[in-house]
Every structure is written in structure tokens, then in C-alpha cells.
Amino acid sequence: MNDIYFIGMCISMLIYIAIGVMVSRKVKNIDDYYVAGRHAPTFLISGSLIASYVGVALFMGDAAESYGGIFSPIVFLAIMQTAGYIIGAVFFGRYLRRSGVMTIPEFFNKRFASKPMKVIAATTAIITMSVYLISIVQGIGTLMNTVTGVDYKICVTLALVVFTFITVLSGSRGVLITDTLMASVFTLAMILAALFISHRTGGWFNSIEKIASNPDMSSLLSWSGKLGVLYDSGAENIFWAFIYGIVWMSVCMVGPWQCSRYLMAKDESTVVKSAVPAVIGIALIEFLACIAAVFVNLENPNLEDTSKVMIWASMNMMPKILGVILMTGILAAGISSATTFLSLVGASVANDVLVNKKNKIAIGRVTMVIVSAIVLCLTLTNPPQIFWIAYLGGSIVSASWMPVALASILSKRLTKTGAFWGMLVGFVTCFSLKLYSNLTGITLPVYLEPSFVGMILNCIAMIIGSVLTKVTVEEKQAREMLFIVPDGEKNPDSVKKTLNVVKCMAIIGLIIAAFLIVFWVYPYMRAL
């Protein structure tokens, strides 16, 4: 057993539990428990957005793909998706918050005056988040087992007990605080890790030049990536990245584990402002994790299990203390995502499924414990399939939720029938194609990517359903209500500040492009 890593991980988990216990004392009512009292500031919303997005799949999946040769497509899709935070906050998050609901399925119910809409939204959300939770727990178990040498089952059980305890006790308020703390830990850990790894391989720019000038490695940082790893041509690789960029952008826009954070924001300005740190934070973490994994090739190009590239780097290329910080940071990323997913499943069952029950906090807590027990059983009885399940979750959200969520705000003609069939067709299409592809082992052509096909069929079903039926008075009024600006949001100074923040996003896009050119493209092209 690798004692120091195990001790480090246990200490970090104890800290998160202690915070959970402290926060739980402030939970006084249902709003506190499920939507953090609806007065969370920008830094907590941003922290939770980052923490619930960044999970083990990033540090073990995206890093592994970059190490294996497709750095450019991965970074392309990862940065492309961050635009979803701006679009999601402005075109969906503000209206979601304005509706005053507790969960997103409740929003669809209110918007379309339709219980079937709530049922299908709640069902897809609960299924997606539960399976996603399994992938996160499997990822945490694999990470802890590899690093510490402690039995996989013990690791899984330990992590599950910790995040269940935090979530059940402190609710969304505790999740926001622990998420933000964990996001700070893994962001700092990743920055330090990338600097140390590049230092070990000869310095940042020198490492890029070494890779570029080595004929066997130069494709690792090229625009096309290493051909054959994903597809046989660079154009196909970038097209794949573009499709997945849209898919994950949809997740950032309307994914329940992302936009539910906006329900907790203290005002609409906070919703919009929180998008800025989320864009910068996720773009930075993705870039650093991926390029650090590419640098590892200079030290060890023959790792058998590429998913463990960051674990190998932390144990072999960094000072021990920094390795421990990075591993606890990755663990934090996994636990923070798990707390968000578990709290959302509990909230959805208590508010959307068992609507008429009185003690919703107790129901939510019991649900979370039951879901955790089921997740534990499924995790222990199934082999780890971290990335397949994680990608399935993202794909389903983009195929079933994204078109309906945006159209529910932007379209006057969308009816409940159109929305219902759109969501159902998107879900069934994406799920079936993914299942078929995985069961048969057949790789579908890039243009038949399940989420992409699901999104298109979703839109077609929405249009047909809306053409065949008429918008009712209730639906019309529900949509009009969303466009009534609340009194608290009418302060001209606050509006001006919000507009300035959004204006900054236009500049931040250019800064990100310049950053990529300076820290990747220019040194790479100079050495070719």
C-alpha cells in the first residue's frame, strides 16, 4: 500500500466531511437544502460549474487521448464547448431562475403546462445522472486503487460513503461550498503539475520543440493529431471534434448538472457573471491536463494503460508532495461531480416524482441513500467503463434536452406535444445508437454520431409535433411570464455591469486564441 497517497486522500476527504457537517447546521428549509437558499454568489456558482464538469474522465480520459495522439481534437472540442456556458447562462439559465422552480423537469412542467413533459424530463435526467454517477464512482475507485494499492472495492465504498454523507447532510448548500473548494484544489494542482512535468522534460517551450522536431512524435501536437488513433484523416478527426464540441457545448448549456446551478444564484446578473470564470477555468484545466499528458511522452512513450498517464506522471515525475496534491485534486474532481449528481437525483425524485409528499428534505435524503446503495451494487458488480458511460450521459443530454430547452425560450410556436416528442425521440435515438455501437463493436461513421443524429431527429419531431398541434393559452402565458423582468433585476447599474461582463467574453475569446498560439502553436511551428 502506498501510504502517503492514501493518507493524503483520507485527510482531504475528512476535510470535505467536516465542511459538510458545518454547512448542514445552516440548512433550515427546503430552499436551503435544494437550491442553496437561492442566494449563492458568483464564485460559488462558478466553482460548482467547474467542479461538476471536471471529473475523473478529464484527468484519465482526455489526458489519455492526448497522450495517445489526439491532443489537438481533444483541446479543440474542450475549448469549443466552453461557449456553452455563455449561451446557456444567457438564453436558458436566466429564464430558468426567473421561473422560480426547484428542478429543471419542474421548469418544463411549468413552461408547457404538461405533466408528461415533467415525467419524461425527470426520467431522462434521473437515468442519465444515475449512470453517470456509476462512471464517476468507478473512476474514483480505479484512481484510488491504482495510486494507493488499496482494494478497489474498499476504495469505491470509502469514496461513496464520503460523498453520500456530504450530500445527504448538507444538501445543495454544502455541495456548492465543497465543490468550490475542490475546484480550487484541482485547478491549483493541475497548474503546478503541468509546470513540474514540463520542467522535468526540459521546460515548456523546449518540450514542445523536442516533440515537434522528433519525426515519431511531431504528430502528437499537430492540428490533425496522430492519424489512425481516432480516424484515418485529419479532416475526420477535426470534424469529430466539432461534433463533440457541439455535444458537450449542449451539456454546458442545458445539462441538468450544469444549469441547475443557476437556480441557486442570488440574481440573474450572478448567473451571467458565473459563466466567465467557468469558461476560463475549464479551458485552462483542459489545456494543461492535455498538454502535460503529451509532455509525458518525452519521459515515457510506452505506457500500456494510457488512462493512467497522469497517475504515472504524479508518481514518477513530480516531487512526492506535489504528486499527493495532484492525486487528491483528481479525487476532489471526482467527488465534487458525484455530490452534484447525487443531490440532483435526490431533488428530482423528491420534487418531480413524489410531488405531493410533505417532508421533501427527508424524502430527498432517503432517496440519495437508496441511490447510493444501488450505485454501489452496480459499481461492484460491473467492470469499470468510465469513459463510455460518461460520454453516453453527455450525448443523451445533448440529443434529448438541448433543442427542447432552447426552443422552450426562443420559440413561440413550440407546443407541449412537439416538446414531448422531441425529447423522447432524441433520447431513444441516441441511446439506441450508442447501445448498438457498443454491443456490436461497430464504429459508426463520424456523421452518424448518435448525439448528432438524436439532435437532428429531436428538432424534426419538435417541428412536426408543433405543426400538428396549437399553442394553448396556458403555454402562451407561461412563456410570456418568462420574459417579465423581475423587479430586483431592473437596476440600471446592475444591467450595465452584466452587459460589461458579457462584453468581456468577446475579448476573452481572443485572449484564449492568443494564449493557445503563444503556448502551443508558435513554438510548435517554429521547431517544425
Binding site: A83, A506, I508
Partner: protein, 42 residues
Amino acid sequence: MEIVLCVFLGLWISGAGILAYYWIKKEMSSYIDTNKDKENKQ
């Protein structure tokens, strides 16, 4: 080609920012204008 990707990403995020700016401006300016109208009427 790598530069093209970077420029595309920059414009993609900037484009989202510009779109969001005009949407909020359109929605909120009508409120601010109404206030000005009220002030003028008074």
C-alpha cells in the same frame, strides 16, 4: 492549420459573447427605455 483552429476557437467564444450581449441588451434596454420615457413624461 493549427493557427486556423486557434482563431476559430477565439471567434467561437467571442461570437457567443457578442450574441449574448445583444440578447441581453435587447431585453433590458426596452426596460431602460421605458424608464426614460416615464421620466420624460414626468
